[in-house]
């Protein structure tokens, strides 16, 4: 007997999974915070990193959350092609996000900051890298979701998969909200 009518096992499990992922990122963030607080010299991030570019990137990711949730709203209304449109938009924006991140990494490496020659580098690359990895995995699942949509998998009555996709994507956005703040702003 399901104590939560309206909530399927998949949605329940997705929330549990996201909860565990929050703890995973917490370990990495804990490392970052501890190392930064105890470091004798931490680089001035506003000079080393391109904060305006990353601010733009952050906004892009926020926009991708909007497109994602509009996609979900579309299939709630039974609008298939709208769903696909928004899913594709989300995937495209996600790809742009990762690309800009890659450019940022390249710039930073060019400035001589690697993962092994500074504590800043170690924490920066690992933290943004795992976030980027989660975005990439999200894009892969978005593509899968788009394919399934073309195969008529989702309808107004049954679109749980789109909801799951949305939950994951918004979670990845939330992680970035914190990473952006603690790495680039603070």
């Amino acid at each position: 007997m399901n104590p939560m009518p309206g909530v399927g096992t998949m949605k329940f499990a997705m929330w549990l999974f996201l909860a565990s992922e929050a703890l995973f990122f917490a370990a990495l963030i804990s490392a970052y915070v501890l190392l930064r607080l105890t470091s004798p010299s931490w680089p001035d991030v506003s000079e080393l990193l391109n904060v305006p570019l990353v601010a733009l990137n952050t906004s892009l990711l926020l926009i991708s959350s909007v497109t994602m949730v509009y996609g979900f709203a579309s299939i709630e209304d039974g609008k298939q092609s709208r769903l696909r449109l928004y899913l594709i938009a989300t995937a495209v924006i996600g790809t742009v996000f990762v690309s800009i991140q890659a450019v940022e990494w390249a710039q930073l490496i060019g400035e001589g900051v690697t993962a092994s020659n500074s504590v800043f580098g170690s924490t920066f690359y690992v933290l943004t890298g795992f976030h980027g990895l989660h975005v990439l995995i999200g894009i892969l699942f978005l593509v899968l979701t788009i394919f399934r949509s073309y195969r008529g998998r989702y309808s107004q009555a049954e679109h749980g998969g789109v909801e799951l996709m949305g939950l994951y994507w918004h979670f990845v956005d939330i992680v970035w909200i914190f990473l952006f703040t603690i790495i680039y702003l603070i």
């Binding site: 992922e21 995973f24 917490a26 370990a27 804990s30 490392a31 501890l34 190392l35 993962a115 504590v119």
Partner: protein
């Protein structure tokens, strides 16, 4: 329901999505690793009894003539490391959560399988590469990891500190990442199943304690394991990419300890809670009495789990951690004794004036309670920071952990396996053999581990291959020899269990549905259960502990048995016809 098309042998027994098969897969592999972990302990204790002496048979086999058939000094830390690692991650957690959890959860909740059967398949098969990695670490030239199962930085970061710091340590890290993933995936499955797939009428407060314990354990796994995974990834990067997370000097060595113990303290509750659940069910069944204080028992497990997240620093009292923080950890650690005590008294309350059936499962459950109490009491000493400063890294701690892990968890496993063997395999284990196994195990267990409190209070350090090189400990060798002899007998006694287990698989007395006359749902179906668990999903009318109920003549009253004139579950009419199949 599913079509009755026959599955191939491989789909039915190897790559199975059937929780009962997966549970058995975990069971057998865990038993194998228990053997390996035990052999490592025997080697360790041989060294402690007769340091640097030729070891018969094993000496020439493993270490060769060139080194004089003795244990090489650098191998002792590896023995210690792998004994702990294997016993924790490849024996006790898989056998409690993986084997009993998988087998019992759908059956005790009246479900046909787990919420996600294919995910369940993944959770076992993720362990297989983990097994291969950890076993292969014994075969690499430089030997297995030797930084302790706690793998503290910076030793564990350096590739060339000791032989075991090379490939062995890398294999250790990779293996544990896989174990963590397997656990996490399994935990999500268990939580979903218990919350969402319960049979009609099975409210949460009608669940047996075994299920409550497995449920809360799965929650611990979900929230604690990712932190270890994160820490292992950082360690892997430090070792392979040269990152500086835990590096001495530039990184923060203590960061490893915080992240490691944030997981590993809840891990010890992951290792004990299922055994506590089993003990509650076995004691109630074999006392023919309701469990004393069911709701406090449940709340106590919640309290242990919740507090378990904020005590990890008690492993770090001597690490150089902020002493103010030490005070908070000391306080929270002492608080955890309270729910544990509640549970202990409730077990005693269950036994009090019960109609005690002293069969093998019950004897082992009683051993669980008594040795867990000793282990827990010794923990209170260690909880006090000033005392722990002396006791840390001595044999006191080794005694403490083995009283709770062997005395606690392992006797719980012996109880649980013998209790549910008939359901799993359709045959009874020999009770006589079970009693012999129990008596010898219990006596020799105490002979080995009780002296450790004395040794530890004396100051004998752990993880040292030859403590007698220090003159103050030279008088302790006799005690250590006594303990080692006891271990030989203990090890031999396990052969009784093994023989009993495997013989009974084929020649045990055929078991009916409910040989123990117990109340919970798994006993309402065949032994072993059919593929879909139940012909019809049972309807539950009451809690699991209605033993010696005045409502019926029998001294047990199954959860799914309707008694005329008693109230039906909320909103459900009394059954005029059998409950509908399916969920």
């Amino acid at each position: 329901m599913t079509e009755t098309a026959e599955l191939s042998f491989v789909r039915r027994y190897v790559f199975s999505t059937d929780h009962k098969v997966i549970g058995k897969q975990f069971l057998f592999t865990a038993m194998g690793f228990f053997t390996i972990g035990g052999l490592l302990a025997i080697l360790m204790r041989t060294q402690l009894a007769w340091p640097w002496q030729e070891i018969p048979i094993i000496g020439p086999l493993l270490y060769g003539e060139a080194s004089g058939n003795i244990l090489p000094p650098e191998s002792y830390p590896a023995l210690v490391t792998m004994h702990g690692t294997i016993m924790i991650f490849f024996f006790i957690i898989p056998i409690l959560s993986g084997a009993l959890g998988n087998f019992l959860i759908p059956l005790m909740t009246g479900a046909r399988d787990m919420a996600f059967p294919r995910l369940n398949l993944a959770s076992y098969w993720l362990m297989v590469p983990a097994f291969l990695l950890v076993l292969s670490s014994f075969l690499v030239t430089t030997g297995p990891a030797s930084a302790g199962w706690t793998s503290y930085a910076p030793l564990s970061i350096l590739q060339d500190a000791a032989p075991g710091s090379a490939m062995g340590q890398t294999l250790w890290v990779l293996s544990l990442m896989l174990v963590g993933t397997s656990s996490l995936v399994g935990a999500i499955n268990y939580i979903t199943t218990i919350v969402m797939l319960r049979a009609p009428g099975l409210d949460m407060f009608r669940l047996p304690m075994t299920i409550w314990a497995l449920f809360i354990t799965a929650i611990l796994v979900t929230f604690a394991t990712p932190v270890l995974t994160g820490a292992l990834i950082l360690m892997f990067f430090d070792r392979s990419l040269g990152t500086l997370f835990f590096a001495a000097g530039e990184g923060q060595v203590i960061l490893w300890q915080h992240l490691f113990w944030f997981y590993s303290h809840p891990a010890v509750y992951i290792m004990i809670l299922p055994a506590m659940g089993v003990a509650s069910d076995v004691i109630s069944t074999f006392s023919r009495k309701p469990l004393f204080g069911y709701k406090p028992m449940v709340y106590s497990i919640w309290a242990i789990a919740g507090l378990g997240f904020i005590v990890w620093g008690h492993h770090m009292f001597v690490s150089g951690m902020n002493p103010l923080l030490g005070i908070t950890f000391m306080t929270s650690t002492m608080l955890i004794a309270i729910p544990s005590a509640v549970k202990t008294f409730n077990w005693l309350g269950t036994l009090w004036r019960g109609n005690l059936q002293m069969q093998a499962p019950m004897l082992n459950a009683l051993a669980f309670v008594s040795t867990f109490v000793i282990g827990g009491l010794s923990g209170i000493f260690s909880a006090a920071t000033p005392v722990d400063i002396f006791l840390h890294d001595t044999y006191w701690i080794v005694g403490h952990i083995h009283y709770v892990l062997f005395g606690g968890s392992l006797f719980g496993v012996f109880a649980g396996v013998q209790y549910w063997f008939p359901k799993m395999f359709g045959r009874m284990m020999s009770n006589t053999a079970g009693i012999y196994h129990f008596v010898i195990t219990f006596v020799t267990f105490n002979m080995i581990f009780l002296p450790m409190f004395y040794l530890g209070a004396f100051g004998m350090p752990r993880r040292i291959a030859d403590p007698y090189q220090y003159e103050m400990f030279s008088g302790l060798q006799g005690t250590n020899q006594f303990m080692t002899y006891a271990l030989f007998v203990l090890a031999a006694a396990q052969l009784i269990f093994a023989f009993n287990f495997f013989y009974s698989l084929f020649r045990g007395k055929v078991a009916g549905k409910n040989p123990w006359k117990a109340n919970t749902l798994e006993w309402t179906t065949d032994s072993p259960p059919p593929l879909e668990n139940f012909e019809e999903i049972p309807t539950v009318y009451r809690g699991p502990y209605e033993y010696s109920s005045p409502l019926v003549a029998a001294d047990y009253l199954p959860q799914d048995q309707y008694v005329d004139g008693t109230e039906s579950p909320r909103g459900m009419p009394a059954p005029a016809v059998s409950p509908a199949a399916g969920d």
